[in-house]
């Protein structure tokens, strides 16, 4: 656990989950968690458990759907997929996040 690994910022996890589902298609919780870890490499410290409240939150908003299914290894698992609303919202959420990131970056350069 290196010092340069950061915790997941509040709100970013939702977008990561959405983006993962968009690229990978329907996935179970473990799959989503692994994907996020792989994409972010070693720079993010993720307790895999934390994606479950995020998944529930997205479900409550109606952005994703969940369905029980069977994995390749023949294990019962809950599969998540994007809903129509969720698909529409990804773009908007992504833009939001870019704007925040941009603003943040500007602040950081300005302070140097």
């Amino acid at each position: 656990m290196g010092e340069d690994r950061s915790d997941v910022l509040q709100g970013t996890l939702d977008l990561m989950v959405l983006k993962t589902l968009e690229t990978m298609g329907p996935q179970h919780g473990y799959g989503i968690a692994r994907r996020i870890e792989q994409v972010s490499g070693d720079s993010l410290r993720l307790n895999q458990g934390t994606i479950y409240p995020a998944l529930l939150r997205l479900q409550q908003r109606g952005w994703i759907k969940a369905e029980w299914g069977v994995s390749e290894s023949n294990r019962r698992a809950k599969y998540y997929s994007l809903s129509r609303i969720g698909r529409k919202r990804i773009e908007q959420e992504a833009r939001n996040w870019e704007r925040i990131a941009e603003t943040m970056a500007r602040f950081l350069t300005a302070s140097i």
Partner: protein, 891 residues
């Protein structure tokens, strides 16, 4: 609308918690399995793979918890759990629960009942349009009956900027009473003569038909709008009433409309409304006598009701009226004008004197509830001490102090809410009792009900109770360390010693509040007894009063009718004396009147005038009422129009004008209706003061004239009988009927009843405050008894030691009684201090006693100390009978 979906989702989740929990568990299990499988593929042993998977997952329990928080309403779920727990706790101790519930329900119910009366009578807005901006414009000296000049009214209508709409009406109850004939028996009803725009100003549409127009008003048309009550009683609520003709004072009037029941203006007894111009006294020159220096007091008494413009308060309107009044006085002087104009908010006018009494009642039940709450708090506290173990355990298991306080408060709220529900039938019963018992005919009393505002009041009161008896003991437990320093073994003894202070303070508070209530009740009781003991100045027993009038209140009175009636009644066996007078038991305001001339004195200016009553008597009036002749003689038949004008005066009159002198033979001039204002009257008799304007009022100067010289009607007939006057009522009625079939006979009552009725409001409030104070004392008594009983039980060991060391039994008993006395004494001191404020609040209801009344205070103190001693007696005996060997061995 994300949040709508979120809330709906959460509510849905709330309903299937268990299923969702199981689903989550399965999902998490499969997650770990996936991870472990992958780890195994990387070459880890099965155990290592599982451990690593769990590590990467990072806390299954936390995830579950976070998931649950996200899923539902965690705070709400916690509350629900608390409520369930509280209900379980309450069920587990039925004794405590039932005592607390009954105490609280009675207290809250009594408060709700009194409040609902206040709500209906005082708080509920008047049913008129923008009722908060309605004001009455009246004579400042006599707001009830005083009047204003009609042309002044027109000037205000023209000049005032603060007034949006204004309408005049004729209020004086005597002069706008009319006789309704046509049905079986003539009846006397209260009419109201009003401007056409009154109905639109108040914003009330007729129930049926229409109201009259300004054209009808200016044409002096005889049309009438009936009250709902009159419509029901005379036309059976039939729509055919419209267009029918009724006889008012012998003149035909056409019914054009019916007002709804809520319309009770100017008073609840207004039975019909007619154009102001159809009043027989409208612009009647004969009643406006004015000879420059002197004027009549009883000219047209118009009053006005107005709606202020938005943004104008009564005070601004008052300032403007003062200015207009002053300029009118300058430009158009008129001695008939009053001394000013008073602007009164309409809501203040209605409710009147009963207001204070009702608020005193509410304060009394409020105090009673406070005492009841103290007792419940004591119970909760005692239970809390017993539960210190449970609380300490919960704390040890990780519950925060806030959480436990929340739990305790929830328990209190649940208890109070239950009590609130149980209290509603109590309140309903209380309201029914109050509506029957409240004697003063309060307006809108019949509208009292448990409605939404009343329920809101009950709810707030119940919740306040909960905070009081729930939180106070909870804090006391902590402050006294019953919980923190809790140890299994000495839980009980430790808890009691420390929390006993809280118990004691609650008892002191109960005693103090009881003292306040007892003091007020004592003062009211003393006042009641004093009023009852007032010598009315006449002998009320065996006297029947009946009112006989003829259609046409203002038309000339056929003197022969009264002569015949009086002489016929006198001839009835069992009748001792018959007399008559023009007005009796007028409990309204008395007018200030001046005498034109008084022998031996300079005439008084208007500002020096005082109340004066002027009556005409007939027959053996003084004998019939049982007056006391002090000097001189009564009238007799040789006094007539040809002989000198004579008068009988009372002692107040003699004191007022001829103090220290013999008034017999003195001369004075007065204001009378004969138009012979410059005749001298000679005093021929002096009678003792009679309290015919109300027992509580000091007697006012009174002049009696003889009917042969004054020529007024004397409708109030008094019959003194040798036996029970009620038994003779029907035969007397028949005699009057036989003399004149169209005579209106009303108010046939023994005058003793009239006196009882005058006492009724006072009897009512005294009884109620008395009952409340005794209940308060009883609750406080139970409280201190319980505390002492408990304390003796807890201190058995200490008592045993004392006895073993040689204390004798009477000393031990004294220990207990002394403690009772100490608590009572503290309560007494605090209570007496509080009474100082409370009695000032009720001072207006007192009669003949001062707010600081040593007799009452001493009695209250004795009662309280006595109660404390009695309460301590049994616990003291129990303490004295402790067997030291057993007490020491048992622990």
């Amino acid at each position: 609308m994300d949040w709508v979906r979120i809330v709906l989702n959460r509510i849905a989740a709330l309903l299937r918690r268990r299923a969702l929990d199981a689903e989550l568990d399965e999902e998490l299990r499969s997650h770990i399995e996936f991870a472990a499988e992958e780890n195994r593929k990387r070459g880890l042993s099965p155990e290592e793979a599982h451990t690593a998977a769990l590590r990467e997952f990072g806390g299954v329990t936390q995830t579950r918890e976070a998931h649950r928080v996200q899923r539902g309403f965690p705070l709400l779920e916690m509350r629900i759990a608390d409520v369930r727990y509280a209900l379980r706790q309450l069920r587990r101790s039925p004794g405590f629960t039932s005592v607390a519930l009954i105490t609280l329900a009675l207290g809250i119910g009594a408060n709700t009942a009194v409040f609902s009366v206040i709500e209906a009578v005082l708080l509920k807005p008047l049913p008129y349009r923008n009722a908060d901006r309605l004001v009455l414009l009246t004579d400042p000296q006599d707001p009830q009956d005083g009047g204003i000049l009609y042309r002044d009214f027109q000037a205000w209508k023209r000049d005032s900027r603060s007034v949006e709409e204004i309408s005049a009406f004729y209020r004086n109850s005597g002069w706008s009473r009319v006789t309704l004939t046509g049905s079986e028996e003539p009846v006397s009803i209260q009419a109201a003569f009003v401007s056409a725009d009154l109905f639109s100003l108040l914003g009330i549409a007729p129930e049926l038909g229409r109201t009259f127009t300004e054209e009808e008003e200016s044409r002096h048309e005889r049309v009438a709008v009936l009250s709902y009550g009159l419509w029901q009683s005379h036309f059976g609520g039939s729509p055919d009433a419209i267009g029918q003709t009724i006889q008012l004072d012998g003149v035909a009037s056409r019914v054009i409309g019916v007002m709804p029941e809520v319309f009770q203006f100017p008073a609840a007894d207004s039975a019909l409304w007619a154009p102001i111009t159809s009043n027989p006294h409208w612009a009647d020159p004969t009643i406006l006598i004015n000879d420059g220096q002197h004027s009549r007091g009883f000219y047209a008494r118009w009053q006005a009701v107005a709606r202020l413009r938005p943004g104008f308060g009564a005070r601004q309107a008052q300032a403007e009226m003062n200015a207009i009044f002053a300029s009118l006085e300058k430009s158009d002087p008129d001695p008939n004008r009053g001394t000013g104009i008073k602007v009164l908010p309409l809501r203040l006018e209605i409710g009147g004197d009963a207001r204070l009494a009702l608020y005193v009642l509410l304060a009394s039940v409020g105090l009673l509830l406070l005492i009841a709450c103290s007792n419940v708090a004591n119970l909760v506290l005692a239970r809390g001490v017993a539960r210190a173990g449970e609380i300490a355990m919960r704390q040890a298991l990780g519950a925060t102090r806030r959480r436990i306080l929340g739990q305790l408060l929830t328990e209190a709220l649940v208890l109070a809410a239950l009590a609130g529900i149980v209290s509603l039938p109590v309140a309903r019963f209380g309201i029914r009792a109050l509506v029957v018992l409240v004697p003063a005919n309060l307006p809108r009393l019949e509208q009292t009900s448990v409605n939404l505002p009343v329920l809101g009041f009950t709810f707030v009161v119940a919740m306040l109770c909960a905070v009081f008896f729930g939180l106070a003991p909870a804090f006391a437990l902590w402050r006294n360390g019953a919980v923190e320093k809790f140890q299994w073994k000495n839980a009980v003894s430790f808890g009691t010693r420390r929390s006993a202070a809280a118990h004691r303070w609650l008892i002191v508070a109960e005693f103090a509040l009881s003292v306040v209530l007892l003091t007020c009740a004592g003062l009211l009781l003393r006042s009641f007894l004093l009023v009852r003991a007032v010598d009315p100045g006449f002998e009320a027993e065996h006297v029947l009063k009946l009112n006989v009038s003829l259609s046409g209140a203002s038309s000339a009175w056929p003197a022969s009718l009264y002569d015949t009636v009086v002489s016929r009644l006198q001839a009835v066996p069992g009748v001792k004396a018959v007399g008559a007078i023009d007005s009796l038991f007028d409990l309204g305001a008395t007018n200030n009147l001046g005498l034109r001339a008084i022998e031996g004195r300079t005439p008084e200016s208007r500002s020096q005038w005082t109340a004066l009553t002027w009556d005409t008597v007939r027959g053996d009036y003084f004998t019939a009422i049982g007056a006391r002749l002090v000097r001189g003689r009564y009238f007799n038949d040789s006094d007539d129009a040809q002989t000198q004008l004579v008068a009988i005066i009372d002692e107040s009159m003699a004191r007022r004008y001829w103090p220290g002198e013999n008034p017999i033979g003195k001369h004075f001039k007065g204001q009378d209706k004969r138009g012979r204002n410059d005749d001298w009257l000679t005093v021929i008799g002096l009678v003792g003061d009679m309290h015919t304007h109300g027992l509580e009022r000091s007697a006012t100067p009174h002049v009696f004239e003889w009917y042969r010289q004054a020529g007024n009607g004397t409708p109030e007939i008094l019959v003194r009988t040798s036996g029970d006057p009620v038994a003779m009522a029907s035969s007397l009625r028949a005699i009057v009927r036989s003399v004149n079939g169209s005579a209106v006979l009303s108010d046939m009552t023994p005058i003793e009843h009239q006196l009882q009725q005058q006492l009724a409001p006072r009897r009512f409030q005294t009884t109620l405050v008395g009952i409340f104070s005794l209940l308060a004392l009883a609750i406080a008594f139970v409280g201190i008894y319980g505390l002492m009983h408990y304390s003796v039980a807890q201190r058995r060991r200490e008592i045993g030691i004392r006895m073993a060391l040689g204390a004798d039994r009477s000393g031990i008993a004294w220990l207990v009684v002394r403690e009772c006395l100490a608590l009572a004494a503290m309560g007494l001191i605090v209570g007496l201090a509080l009474s100082w404020f409370a009695t000032r609040a009720v001072s207006k209801l007192l009669y003949g006693v001062k707010e600081f009344d040593p007799v009452t205070l001493i009695l209250v103190s004795l009662v309280l100390v006595g109660a404390a001693v009695v309460a301590g007696f049994r616990p003291a005996r129990r303490a004295a009978s402790v067997d030291p060997m057993q007490a020491l061995r048992s622990e």
